[in-house]
């Protein structure tokens, strides 16, 4: 059964295996299959069980079994392990079952007679995974476990996609269960006799197929920033800018986006082009200026900014964004820095909205729900997600695992987790296993593309007159 489930897993997929039968799936997935196993206690990319005598007592899966951590694995906290489940980074969850229904309902955490149960991580996995596979014995002491309705308390309603048992493989469709495969030596009728729900038979019904799929390697390393940003469409929501200074800023990707020319962009950023007009970007010589968001503003590519520090600290030295704002060419939503960080964190953690005490009684409270908790007023703030995140990190491995340097973590870390497509700009790309799994800050599952900065690259450019950008 575990072998059959292993055949469902694709290269690059992030997969969580529940307690019981599901944990066996890891043993039948070849290390070179490129499947990334996620465990809720905080590991990504773990390998098969440790050989006897080679167990590391600090390295267990969610069932408490000693596993291994092959090159490219990463360690995260429990909180982050569930944040990535809720935010849609988990491709497949494989769970055991007490009962499963033809509607895709699953019951696996509690029997009614006991009166109390252990939700563990199963409810979170079932709700968060993009695809839910149930692996279970077909019957329990002869009684069917695949039913029209579950009588036990549910783990999830209508979430199951595929059921793999010792007798059959069944797909949950809008029209009930579809029998796709039967175990060697079993007929459709004998399977039906042990199933508590009607089975439709697939036209392509076959004997259970254990062939492990072959998939081409996933390549996250792009040869240039231009190629990495080529598909950014007009109107995209872009998460970019570390903090404001030059350390955490993805200059190479920003220059490529300027040349690519996408327009109507919404930029989510701590600052919008203040490096040029503040101490954050003081150039080493007066004939140079910092590369920052201004290069996009000047080309008319930005329609809206969501930022905490949108304008120059000095009114007498306005930034390109402030000038565009005064001309009415761009929209601005000013937010508090901690709220921006938390809204992005929420976006990358499957939190839709949250109550924060910040900003009550100020302009940012306008139009927002105010609510009291423990005698203190809070504002309801909503999550932000981006179409793309441009992230500046120090090193990446080819799986997209990232480490940062110093204070350049800042907003990069929350942005990396909060976008559909995250592109990392790094100083160096290394092979999996070179970065210590304990030191990885952003796990590779958040990162779709990696680009190395050219060896000779400056965050400053010679000052030149603003070109005619064709808007006139």
């Amino acid at each position: 059964m575990a072998l059959r489930v292993a055949a469902e897993l694709r290269r690059g997929q992030v997969v969580n295996l529940g307690i019981g039968l599901p944990t066996l799936v890891a043993n039948y997935t070849p290390p070179d299959a490129g499947v990334i196993f996620h465990s809720e206690n905080g590991i990504l990319g773990y390998g098969p069980h440790a050989a006897e005598g080679e167990e590391d007592l600090d390295l267990i899966n969610a069932r408490g079994e000693h596993v291994t951590l092959p090159p490219g694995g990463a360690v995260v906290s429990h909180t982050d392990a569930f944040a990535m489940v809720r935010s849609g980074r988990l491709d497949v969850a494989v769970l055991g079952a007490l009962q499963v229904s033809e509607k895709g309902d699953l019951a696996n955490w509690m029997t009614p007679e006991k009166g109390i149960g252990s939700p563990g991580g199963a409810l979170d996995m079932a709700a968060g995974a993009k695809r839910l596979i149930v692996i279970t014995e077909h019957t329990n002491g002869g009684a069917p476990k695949v039913l029209k309705e579950c009588s036990y308390p549910l783990t999830a309603a209508g979430r199951v996609d595929l059921i793999v048992t010792d007798l059959a493989v069944m797909e949950v469709t809008g029209d009930g269960l579809l029998l796709k495969e039967v175990a060697p030596g079993w007929s459709v009728e004998s399977v039906r006799g042990l199933t508590g729900a009607p089975l439709r038979v697939s036209d392509g019904l076959k004997e259970m197929d254990f062939t492990l799929p072959q998939h081409p390697p996933v390549n996250k390393v792009y040869p240039s920033a231009a190629e990495a940003v080529a598909d950014v469409p007009d109107g995209a929501v872009m998460l970019m800018d570390g903090f404001g200074g030059l350390g955490g800023m993805p200059h190479y990707l920003m220059l490529a986006l300027r040349d690519q020319g996408a327009k109507g962009l919404t930029v989510v950023s701590n600052t919008v082009g203040i490096a040029r007009v503040s101490g954050f970007g003081t150039p080493p010589s007066p004939d140079l200026q910092a590369v920052d968001h201004s290069i996009l503003v000047e080309r008319g590519q930005i329609r809206k900014a969501i930022a905490t520090f949108p304008v120059s600290p000095s009114p007498s030295r306005p930034s390109a964004f402030e000038r565009a704002y005064r001309r009415g060419e761009v929209e601005l939503e000013v937010v508090s820095q901690g709220t921006l960080a938390e809204r992005l964190r929420a976006g990358g953690s499957g939190v839709a909205a949250f109550y924060t005490p910040t900003g009550v009684g100020t302009v940012v409270a306008e139009g927002k729900e105010v609510r009291e908790f423990n005698g203190r007023q809070h504002l309801l703030e909503e999550a932000i997600r981006g179409d793309f995140a441009f992230v500046r990190a120090h090193k990446a491995d080819t799986l997209g695992n990232l480490v940062y340097r110093g204070t350049s973590r800042n907003f990069n870390l929350v942005m990396a987790a909060a976008a559909a497509v995250t592109i990392a700009e790094v100083d160096e790309i290394v092979e999996p296993g070179v970065l210590d799994p304990e030191a990885i800050v952003t796990p590779g599952i958040h990162v779709r593309r990696v680009v190395q900065r050219p060896a000779v690259f400056s965050p400053f450019q010679p000052i030149k007159p603003i070109e005619d950008n064709g808007r006139g």
Binding site: F243, G244, G245, L246, G247, G248, N270, S278, G279, F280, T308, F309, P310, V311, P313, P315, E322, Y325, L332, V334, V335, S336, Q337, G338, T339, L340, A341, E342, L344, R345, T356, P357, T358, G359, V360, G361, T362, V363, V364, H394, Y404, R405, G406, T407, S408, R409, N410, F411, N412, L413, V414, V441, P459
Partner: protein
């Protein structure tokens, strides 16, 4: 002839006395940044910056710039042992979660109830909120360091802030170039005056009435 007021550095020196040993402290931009220069040797104050660093040390030497090591004002820091780095979400979780003991912020206006306005001049129409709103609600104690009056000698301590607010009822203490003033439940209390300044002279440059502390004294540094 106008009386001499204390310099920005002397304001910072006075604020330094408000930072107890072992306190976790966040210093805002402007006069607050200067405060770290006036802590006694051996002080174990732990500095927090929204840029994502704890326990940072002195500013980098002139000409030394590591772009990956800055404070929230964009100044370069030295690499010192005992620092730790984290992302912006954690930096602000620490603030709202109650782990910052004292923050020192600059101000455009402070009201007699402790309302703070420091992020936008209304006539500019646009401003930078940055991390001040979070610090105003999250830090256990908010100390304001500012000049007592604006460029046109109008009081910055006012009955009601006319400028957009950063936080309501958040300021505990105000240190200016003329005085040390506590925000008490009943209003403002004058605790210390700058050398050569009388309570009446300070009151004349202050919007709301000042109650006099029983132990009102000259500012000690």
């Amino acid at each position: 002839m106008a009386k001499e007021r204390m310099s920005r550095d002397v304001i910072a020196m006075r604020v330094a006395k408000e930072l107890p040993d072992g306190a976790v402290v966040n210093l805002g931009i402007g006069i607050p940044t200067l405060v770290s220069n006036y802590l006694p040797a051996g002080s174990s104050v732990v500095y927090h910056s929204e840029s994502g660093v704890l326990n940072y040390g002195p500013l980098a030497e002139e000409g030394e710039r590591d772009y990956d090591l800055i404070n929230a004002g964009g100044q370069f820091l030295q690499w010192v042992p005992g620092m730790s780095f984290f992302g912006s979400d954690e930096a602000f979780a620490m603030i709202r979660g109650g782990h910052v003991d004292v923050t020192v912020l600059g101000a455009l206006q402070v009201s007699e109830r402790g309302d703070l306005a420091n992020w936008m001049l209304p006539h500019r129409g646009v401003g930078n909120i940055g991390g001040a709103m979070d610090l105003a609600v999250g830090a256990k104690r908010v100390v304001v360091a500012m000049e007592h009056t604006d460029r046109n000698d109008r009081p910055k301590l006012v009955r009601d802030c006319a400028f957009p607010l950063t936080g309501r009822r958040c300021v505990s203490l105000v240190v200016t170039d003329l005085a040390v003033i506590e925000v008490a439940p009943g209003g403002l209390v004058l605790r210390e005056t700058a050398p050569d300044w009388t309570a009446q002279e300070v009151q004349a440059l202050t919007g709301p009435p000042l109650a006099l502390a029983p132990d009102l004294k000259e500012m000690e540094l």
